[in-house]
Amino acid sequence: MSANRLPTHTGATIDFTFNGRALKGIAGDTLASALLANGVDVVGRSFKYARPRGIFGHGAEEPNGIIQLGSGAGTVPNLKATQVELYQGLEAFSVNGWPSVDVDIMGIIGAFGRLMPPGFYYKTFMYPKKLWMTYEHFIRKAAGLGATPVKDDPDSYDRLNQHCDVLVVGAGPAGLVAAREAARTGARVIIADEQSEFGGSLLASKQSIDGLIARDWVASLVAELGAYSNVQMLPRSTVFGYYDHNFLTILERRTDHLGLTSAHQVRQRMHRVRAAQVVLATGAFERPLVFAHNDIPGVMLASSVSTYVNRYGVAPGNKLVLFTTNDNAYQTALDWHQTGRDVVAVIDTRRDPCGDMVVAVKALGIDVIAGHGVIEAQGNKRVKRALIAPINEAGTEVIGAVRVLDCDLIACSGGWSPAIHLSSHTGAKPVWDENIVGFRPGESKQQERSAGACRGTFDLAGCLAEGATAGADAANCSGHGEGSTQFPMCAVEAFEEQPQQALFLVPHSKSTSRAPSQFVDFQLDVSASAIELAVREGFESVEHVKRYTALGFGTDQGKLGNINGMAILANALNQSIAETGTTIFRPSYTPTTFGAIAGRDVNNLFDPERYTAMHRWHMEQGAEFENVGQWKRPWYFPHQGESMQDAVDREGLAVRNSVGILDATTLGKIDIQGPDAAEFISRIYSNSYLKLAPGKCRYGVMLKEDGMIFDDGVCACLGDNHYLMFTTTGGAAGVLAWLELWQQTEWPELQVYFTSVTDHWTTATVTGPNARKVIAKVCSDIDLSNEAFPFMDWRDGTVAGIKARVFRISFTGELCYEVNVPAHYGRHVWEALIAAGEEFDITPYGTETMHILRAEKGFIIVGQDTDGSMTPADMNMDWVVGKKKTFSFIGKRSLRRSDMLRENRKQLVGLKTLEAKTVLPEGAQVVFDAKQAIPMSMQGHVTSSYYSANLGHAIALAVVKGGHSRLGQIVHCPLADGHTIAAEIVSSVFYDPKGERHHV
């Protein structure tokens, strides 16, 4: 068995590798405990100086054991070895250290550590500025911090939206009893804990509760909670963010501990919780002591040493020196003594420690050296010696001779810092408390309360009592229970403890600036002298010092270093810690994968794709698709070997010479009913609908209050007080909201209802000289003659056996029938029309050909030829503005403003390139004088541009200043590549200017 594994601890063997080395652990290990069991001292290199670093903590606070897990597509960077559960075949690598943790090129820089003060990178690599990118590349490569996977993530993730009455964060002693009290009331309870099993600190505790050993008590309580159907228990679940309105996010790791990749198993799940009430029972972090070379592998937190011994059966060393400012840490000496390994001495900074625990340690014959501090650790890749010296009562000076203690493990404890992170997320400002020597949660900003160690209550009895009260209170505030605790108080043995000493920087025989580095933030190599230097350089605000020194910037977010750092800063500034304040924690509490945040909204589910009833027919025909809003519309239907231009040329010629068919389903359709429908519609469109008779259609444009076009389409009168409004595809939802807005807020007296029928109707547009013949083959109950069914009329009828509405409206300028049927019959009718058109070589066409055909006719597309600054007059569409309407319409007043009447407004015109085959790029700027020096006077721009096979030349629509009075003039479009295209301003109607073809 491994060197450091205690013989009493057994379990199934697990094989894993670390930096390629094959090692063995035991079921239940974390990667950190397994590495320690195997005697792996160096797990990484520090960020800046590349100093060798070992495991320091045992949980979320770990600053050094940062690893890359796995390789290939599933690799995960920057995990904490203390939080990675061991599984068979686990592969882990140090993130820092290049080419390896044992031989590190950056270590050469590290040897010159004194040359790298805070702000080193800013100061050294800033100039010349253009080289910064080069410097940064090498600095980052050398400094490391993990590698992101370069392949697609093979795992699946999802989100779960949860609601509960009481969310308990943390399943240590306080959280467990809080959950029990809340559960009893019938409240919906969720209790989440980041560890693999519930129990928190009790998992490594030797204390007993209600006569049971802590672990057994936890097991009985977990079983009790499990019996409640109203309780949801989430282990391996980190509450990582606390947001407004009691919204909290939890990252649940479901398969990480199995090391599996399976598309069907959800690797991680983000719970998005709306909690009526929250109990924060997040515990506390032990605070390290800051002394010289306190970063050498073999220096650890006292509670971490106890945890490895008691929970994992790992003794991470042989000869322990315990260095403490408080009674609590003496437990570690007791725990270590039980392993049978040597406790060299307990070094206590206080003058005369004599609490119960101290007495118990002394009773074992362990040497307790009071009034002393460990002022320096010595060793290279492992602690070899501790230098101890007497220090003054204030803890500011070494006052006697230095002694050397041989040891290979220094456990240190500077007291405890409440884990106030989540409370801090809510905006509660932490409050410094001299009694606990730490920040307590500030005044609550949400429906939450803290209980136990995270509130500064560190004794077990106190945690249990506070947890129970908090649970009962939270349930009561959510409307459950009486608010008083119902279970008897848990019985625990009490220890008398003496006050701790507040000590944030252990003095050295040399001054801080001369002493070997005394590390405050291990991950980012921030030392006490660096903080003092920052103050000497003029930094005063804790927020500025944080950013200048990088204190708390690492993936551990300063969970260990922050308090010491702020205290050292306060001392350097000659002010109190309360005056200095603290930086505020923000989400995430621990790093969270993007996968869990994205959930299932990836790949084909990233954004909904909306399909028409004919979508699969289009796919079978090999259509290329275009995104129009969320719709997938056929763009063009290429035949074998055709280019896009070939296809649209063929499609466009077919429509003008025989017949084409378009899926126009995506156009927005709004059913409008009510006695005031006509009046309402007339106020919305710029033209009037009051006299539109049933069976008739009219084209209109809608303006915003500013007189600018925002949507257009045809509106049909279906019957008395009944209309159907067509909108653009992209504008459908916006227009419906617009109608509701005006009806509900401005004209509630108008009786009218709106209902979207976009999805109900499928629309097949059959257009071209042969369109009537095609329709006639599948429709026998409508008189299709031009006299009986003229342009801009619609008829009810039966098409291919299905009740249909047929509209004679045209966006191509050709004879056109738009056949609307309920969508369940959409494909049936479409295929019937295709079959009927076979003898005329009916040609399905897509949006590209649709765009070309309408441009040949000069029909605008709102949003392409207009951009929210175009009036009907600008579009040469004055005819669509009703001058005689009795009631105003939206935008009317604005059309009379002086700027609207300006003569040189950008106006819609046609452009015909002098070189017939040259197609102008859309968006090209228009100038009048091609020789003008840059910056040239921009006179307009091209809005639509195509090659027209029907006309045999390129066509474009453009908006040009004063364009309507410039017909026949030559303009120029200078392009980015330096050459210029000349074009003639012509009418925007290129084809069939008299509009005869659609009237046949």
């Binding site: 779960l160 598309a263 069907h264 589910l605 029928v757 369940h824």
Partner: protein
């Protein structure tokens, strides 16, 4: 040309689809044990009804024609046999009648209702799917932020309904007395939602059936 009229419900192309880890693709879906079974209802008449909830004659006439009382309590529905009325808003309801001809139903309603009302046939634009199985509630939690667990249970003739976001689309979700849920979804989003549900339900086993 065949004279047969081909009808395609919104989930037509998904009937028989399933997603389950470890299940072979060669199995027919009814051989796969699934904790989420999605069944698309047969084509039904769906009418959107607008009117004045304070007008007793209006409420009485609707109840008379459909033999279902008009739900006036927000977020509820009423059912009687194959006819259901879902409350969608203070003046808006969805009528679903299984196997009915929408045009005849609309005509019958127009015959009886007077005043300012609106009746719109939306049968082609939406479909009703039922989510059944032990994973149904969990899949709803994956898909929507609404608190469905907060609902009181449904009876055979009434229950709760909410129009809410569902994945990145929308749905009218209601509960049934057998513990399953009905969703009314839009046709154009049906493909997306079917893929979403198959994906979200995959870990439990999920299949889509024709009703």
């Amino acid at each position: 040309m065949s004279n047969a009229i081909k009808v395609e419900s919104p989930l037509n192309y998904f009937h028989g689809s399933f997603n389950k880890s470890s299940a072979s693709d060669s199995l027919f879906n009814n051989q796969v044990d699934c904790d989420l079974v999605i069944k698309e209802a047969p084509l039904s008449a769906h009418l959107n009804l607008r009117g004045d909830a304070n007008d007793r004659n209006f409420c009485a006439a609707v109840a008379e024609v459909l033999d279902v009382s008009l739900p006036l309590q927000p977020g509820t529905y009423q059912r009687n046999g194959g006819s259901s009325i879902y409350w969608l808003g203070p003046s808006e309801w969805l009528i679903v009648q299984e196997g009915a001809d929408p045009a005849s139903l609309e005509a019958a309603l127009r015959e009886s209702l007077t005043g300012h009302i609106s009746i719109v046939d939306v049968s082609g634009g939406q479909t009703c799917i039922n989510l059944r199985g032990t994973a149904a509630a969990t899949v709803l939690k994956k898909s929507s932020v609404y608190d469905f667990e907060g609902w009181d249970g449904a009876t055979a003739n009434s229950g709760s309904v909410v129009q809410t976001t569902f994945a990145k689309a929308s749905a009218a979700v209601s509960n049934r007395s057998d513990g399953s849920y009905d969703l009314v979804i839009r046709r154009s989003f049906a493909d997306y939602l079917a893929q979403w549900l198959l994906d979200a339900g995959g870990e439990f086993g999920c299949r889509i059936e024709q009703g």
